[in-house]
Symmetry: C2
Amino acid sequence: MDRFPHMKRALELAAEAAEAGEVPVGAVLVGPDGAVLAETRNRMREAHDPTAHAEIAAIRAACASMGADRLIGCDLYVTLEPCPMCAAAISAARVARVYYGASDPKSGGVEQGPRIFSHPQAHHVPEIYDGILAPEATALLQDFFRARR
Amino acid sequence: MDRFPHMKRALELAAEAAEAGEVPVGAVLVGPDGAVLAETRNRMREAHDPTAHAEIAAIRAACASMGADRLIGCDLYVTLEPCPMCAAAISAARVARVYYGASDPKSGGVEQGPRIFSHPQAHHVPEIYDGILAPEATALLQDFFRARR
């Protein structure tokens, strides 16, 4: 049985990010019919764009491919807890479900600090499933930062 | 004496947004030497991109033009209080100062709800100057929503 194939793909994308010198985070966006709409990874450094997190890239690519500005019924798989910017973008895009891997005490915005989905200013709150293949996501991040110290 | 010329320009851009059927928010990003790096407005609907807020567009355009992923020493003028997504992007981009117009109780993320800059997960906190030409920004927004009711 192949559990969490989309998260496994997101982990592959995160590993690609690390090879490119980017903080290893990968994302996969899946449509209501199960079709993969976007496979993305962090590209902040190579794109010279501080907003080029994997999740923002996935939302932008999926919306562009659908010609819509909302992702009703879509699922986002991402290897790390979204930061506040990405959590708010997920809400704005009306993503239905978010599956994420590792928690991010330093920069997360879902279960840490600003807790984006816990305020009335979040006009849409997705279903959240955390800890999905978290040890694999954590290992990628730890290896990346260890090699840079 | 011409007070707040960059905010006046941002208000012009907000009015352009309204004419295009977008929620009227405009932004101007100014470099450390006073040069204008980006003039942007909301384009979520026409771009099919829920992340295409004026502030995100300004940060992306300025970073692209500078070939950098940080906007050290730069000032952002925006007609409305940034939402949580934009506030977190402002922090990630290391924008030095944010001047904004109207407060946004419904969707703001600076002085409302998640208060992005008040948590340790915000690794950079800009100087904030609020209420700059706020009546003009509010009037644009009220006219826009009144016409759509």
